[in-house]
């Protein structure tokens, strides 16, 4: 395995140190335990929006710490949920008296560690919002429930904007839950990521197959099918997402085409263009867009499509200023 890393066990820490140095005007990196906070403290009384999860999805979550978005992020080891002591330390550091809104991707590991962390921080007001946007997981009765994937970034953006404008904890939680309810995603892998600790691809695909409905941890997906080009893949992903959302003509959405880490931007725009045309044909208006590799899975080749149903408030929270390493306007 060749990666721009040194000792595998140091990878998360070394990367975090570099991240902190590159963005010292924006963030502070804490190493023991590991978490990232804003360089500028929150205004007293502001809700601290905190998120975290396994590493390997960069820029999520560390790259989203900053004005208008996260107050803190908690990176775990590669593809491994952070530990409760890390999360609790981040809560303590981020809280500015307005309480903490934790945005948690729905994975057993994340859920259990965040839950345990909340038990460790008795004095703090912590609310939690689960993101479970992945429509690839169908039957949540027989599973741990839908996973949280790229839609997480959108929930973090609107929650961060609500906190920044001064909403209280209940209100920020309410808007985050509404955003989480309005967002759906589905992804495809053309090639699995190589996880540093194993040095191997996390699953094997032939040169003619794609894996549809993958998560972001190198887990295999819902099914495997022959590769038939960008248009067909785009249709499969978008249909699953819009069917689940029951999108109707006349509605307005945010369309987010996300790269999994090793996908050229030019290909993401091909997918975006096709998805956009399909939505237009159905009378759905794409009012806001995001295209790029934001919620990645190390060096996985592939993409996901996320659609969020917009209303006026979600639109204006999306538009609100943000100043982080990965998103800025």
């Amino acid at each position: 395995m060749k990666k721009l890393l040194n000792a595998v066990d140091d990878a998360v820490r070394e990367s975090l140190v570099g991240f902190g140095a590159a963005h010292e005007e924006l963030v502070r990196v804490h190493l023991d335990p590991m978490y990232v906070t804003r360089a500028q403290p929150l205004l007293r009384g502001t809700v601290a929006v905190v998120s975290g999860g396994g590493s390997g999805h960069e820029p999520l979550h560390t790259g989203l710490v900053g004005e208008g978005m996260l107050a803190a992020a908690v990176p775990g080891e590669m593809f491994t949920s952070p530990t409760p002591d890390q999360i609790a330390a981040a809560y303590q550091a981020a809280d500015a008296g307005g309480g903490v809104l934790a945005i948690v991707k729905n994975y057993t590991g994340d859920v259990l560690n965040f839950e345990t962390a909340a038990e460790l921080t008795d004095g703090l007001d912590v609310e939690q919002v689960l993101v479970n946007d992945d429509v690839a997981v169908e039957d949540s009765l027989f599973t741990a429930g839908r996973r949280g994937v790229a839609g997480t970034l959108l929930v973090e953006k609107v929650a961060g904007a609500a906190a920044e404008r001064g909403d209280d904890l209940a209100a920020v939680a309410e808007v985050a839950r509404r955003a989480a309810g309005a967002v759906r995603s589905m992804g495809v892998a053309l090639r699995a990521p190589v996880v540093p600790h194993t040095g191997r691809a996390s699953f094997d695909l032939t040169d003619e197959e794609v894996e549809i409905g993958i998560g972001i941890h190198g887990e295999p997906g819902r099914h495997r099918e022959p590769f038939t080009g960008a248009d067909a893949i785009t249709a499969a992903l978008l249909d699953a997402v819009t069917d689940d959302l029951r999108l109707a003509s006349g509605e307005s959405v945010l369309l987010f085409v996300n790269g999994m880490g090793a996908t050229p931007l030019s290909e993401l725009y091909v997918v975006y263009g096709r998805a956009r045309t399909m939505l237009a044909e159905r009378g759905v208006q794409v009012a806001r867009s995001l295209v790029g590799s934001y919620v990645t899975s190390l060096d996985m080749q592939g993409a996901s499509i996320t659609v969020m149903r917009l209303d006026e408030e979600l639109t204006s929270l999306w538009d609100a200023p943000v100043h982080t390493a990965a998103l800025r306007w």
Partner: protein, 209 residues
Amino acid sequence: MTLDVEWARRWVALAAQAITEAKDELVELDREIGDGDHGVNLDRGFAAVAAKIEGMDRPATVGEILTTVATTLMSSVGGASGPLYGTAFLRAGKVSGLAELGPDAVVALLEGALEGITSRGRAGVGEKTMVDAWAPAVEAAVRSAGAGDEPAAVLRAAADAAADGARSTIPLVASKGRASYLGERSAGHMDPGARSSAILLDAAARAAA
């Protein structure tokens, strides 16, 4: 052989060693139906645990050791298994505030662990998780203690039942944890957490032998 503080220390040392040896196997099991990190997570955790316990200054009770195992795992493993094993050892430690464990105390320790896992993870038997190793282990321990066995024999019975339990997960379709996303595709593989549970209980029995 009495199950005292020295036994608990031996357990930890043997567990850390066994997990290191099984690291690749656990990674491979988790790669098949999960995300391939289970072996790495536990190895990182038990290395931290071993170092911590070695450096511990004269623990008076088995419970003290198990509680330290719990908090160390909790802050070093991450993933699903971190809080699950952490809570298991925490509850096991709570009921083991003794300098030495008899057969009933061993049963209580195992029951505490299982209770910790199910209260944290909310999985029942047959969902293809570590519960499928711990539940039969507790049953076997109850039977063995009821039959008047020595503590070491109670542990051996539990460990063997856990190994059988781990094997029993192979045909199951997962409905909890990451493997559940695979649906039917999860059948045909042993659950990594059940396997590591069997390894940990085997280390406990060996430490007592």
